[in-house]
Amino acid sequence: MHVMVLVKRVVDHNVKVRVRSDGSGVDTSGLKMSINPFDEVAVEQAVRLRQAGQASRVTVVACGPAVTQDVLRLSLAMGADSAIQLDTGAGEPDGLMATEALAALVKREQVDLVLCGKQAIDDDLGDTVPMLAAWLDWPQAMSVNRIELSGTALRVDCDGDQGLERWSLTLPAVLGVDLRLCDPRAISLPNMMKAKKAPISTTRLEELAQAAAPRSSIVSCTTPPARAAGLRVPDLPQLLAHLRQVPALNPTA
């Protein structure tokens, strides 16, 4: 079984992000970047499946310019077998375009199971899994926190609206994983050293996507408005009086 893991290079969770002065997006120049923590969990799960003999091969894929290779090397150091960079050059593909290319790559590489984080911590969109599953017409599951695999039968536990949901899927499938699935391993210096020398193959995204240009674009990016100062009230009746005026607590017609 060939497992493909999709990883994304994102601004580190410890960094307070700032919007570019021209409002075109978030300024990431020089900032600490990391592998999306949800994707890191997906890599760990894939490597465990291979170590348990349930997967034969783990390929990691990242979409972006050359610097994106950093997260691919990290994934290789964690134990992935091979890495592919979907080179976007200077372009910024939207989710639809990226997943179309990824779907073509999944077919080309004869993948049986796709794992990735249920969302990325930069945009929190969570669009990759559903879009990719739709392009491939494969079953999907989101917020997966447990995986049980036997042959081509897959049983997963997911967060659902009403609580824990247990799904049964047949491979091939696409899974969006939650942080609770497993704990990523610490990477050792010797493994980093090996990953540094490992080859990474590159495919241009345009070669795989039919769409010539993204069909959506960012109109503007702004810093959220600062939170207004709180209010001190002297006693309970005045607190209740204030609460009665809060729009969210008033029934609408």
């Binding site: 580190d12 410890n14 960094v15 307070k16 020089g30 900032l31 600490k32 970047m33 950093d70 090397r73 990290l74 150091a77 391993r185 610490a186 990477i187 050792s188 210096l189 010797p190 980093m192 050293m193 990953a195 540094k196």
Partner: protein, 394 residues
């Protein structure tokens, strides 16, 4: 407009220390303004190493006085709950044959002349202290028992709390926009929350000291330099009893210390990445860099060749051309006292620097002469460059 006897800009380890010492010296009404929060700038990014080992003898004196404060923190502050988080594990420094050997020999001798206890160790004795390291290449090993590491955030907040108890007013989230001048001298500050009057203003702004140049036109010879720090999880303990270690033989002139359990905090003591604009946000640390530092660590600590990366972060130094601070008055701007350009040793020196800057601001004689640290040195050329060359040993 509110009036004060002294205004301090910046509430990091240095500014908080200045404020405490001003109050203790009876300065009257003291105001501290910080753009964010106490210690939230570069102070919290400090690796916290405490030593008196310097090749620049003036620094030994400041570090010695500072060490005695760290060693007796609660008593010095008059606050029995205060703690610097001090781990007194000693400081071990070694050099192989080569260009760093003579500077080390001279610096150790200089420390001894200043009354600092320094021992010269053979390889076996060094190994006893730090059994996880090898000293095969060492030509000279110095050990300073009265040294270790502490917590810069605890120190900044400790000084700030003690200062507040003595009546100092500390305002967080206030950005100073310019100095108020009258007849060529400083009479206060204008901030995003109004103006405050004082004939004495002390700037302790670290990497943001470039503001002084913007406000007064006097050049600020300081740049923001980013340094990466790694926490490596090894197969054996680097315990709190094992000394801080300075490896003059490694290409990066590494410094290491215990980070609790099996973890080692390690960083390079050489020139870092210069930032175009002062910024203490977390910078990117590439895997190549981790591998490069890891290889140096493995040379000295063989078992750590198998270590994992537990965490990593960046800190920013306010570096001057000679890697030593500017302390004292700016002659061209009466009423202004500055302390910036600590070049990586601000935390070690913070108690002593706070005292002498407070003394200078109040027109008192300073315990340590400030002349060698004068801004003037960058014009006269009497730089304080250390024997080790550029880098944070100084």
């Amino acid at each position: 407009m509110q009036s004060f006897d002294a205004i301090v800009i910046g509430a990091g380890v240095i500014g908080s220390s200045v404020a405490f010492h001003l109050a203790r010296l009876g300065a009257g009404k003291v105001l501290v303004l910080d753009r964010l929060q106490i210690g939230a700038g570069t102070s919290t990014q400090s690796s916290g190493i405490l030593r008196t080992h310097y090749s620049v003898i003036e620094n030994v004196e400041l570090a010695k006085r500072s060490w005695s404060v760290f060693n007796n923190f609660a008593h010095y502050l008059g606050d029995e709950e205060a703690s610097a988080g001090l781990v007194k594990c000693g400081y071990l420094i070694c050099a192989p044959e080569g260009p760093k050997l003579e500077p080390l020999r001279q610096s150790l001798a200089g420390q001894e002349r200043m009354g600092v206890e320094v021992r010269l160790l053979d390889k076996t004795a060094a190994q006893d202290l730090l059994p996880i390291a090898t000293f095969d290449d060492a030509a000279l090993i110095g050990y300073e028992p009265e040294a270790g590491f502490a917590d810069a955030y605890l120190v900044a907040t400790g000084f700030a709390r003690a200062a507040r108890r003595l009546g100092v007013k500390i305002m967080e989230g206030v950005t100073v926009e310019r100095l108020l001048m009258d007849g060529g001298r400083v009479v206060g500050v204008e901030t995003n929350q109004g103006s405050f009057h004082s004939n004495t203003v002390i700037s302790t702004q670290n990497i943001w000291a470039g503001d002084i140049e913007k406000w007064t036109g006097v050049p600020t010879p300081v740049k923001a330099e980013r340094h990466a720090v790694l926490a490596l999880e090894g197969p054996e303990a680097y315990s709190f009893k094992m000394p801080v270690f300075k490896d003059l033989g490694s290409p990066g002139m590494l410094y290491c210390r215990s980070y609790g359990g099996n973890q080692m905090l390690v960083s390079e003591g050489i020139v870092g990445e210069t930032l175009a604009v002062p910024d203490n946000e977390q910078g990117d640390i590439s895997m190549d860099y981790v591998v490069e530092v890891g290889a140096q660590v493995a040379e000295r600590f063989p078992s750590f060749g198998e270590a994992g990366l537990a965490s990593s972060w960046t800190g920013v130094y306010d570096v001057t051309p000679d890697w030593n601070p500017v302390l004292g008055r700016l002659p061209d701007v009466p009423g202004l006292v500055v302390g910036y350009g600590f070049s990586g040793h601000g935390f070690k020196l913070s108690p002593g620097v706070g005292l002498v800057l407070a003394q200078e601001a109040l027109g008192l004689p300073t315990d340590v002469p400030l002349a060698p640290y004068a801004h003037e040195r960058f014009r006269s050329g009497h730089l304080l460059t250390g024997r080790y060359g550029l880098g944070a040993v100084s």
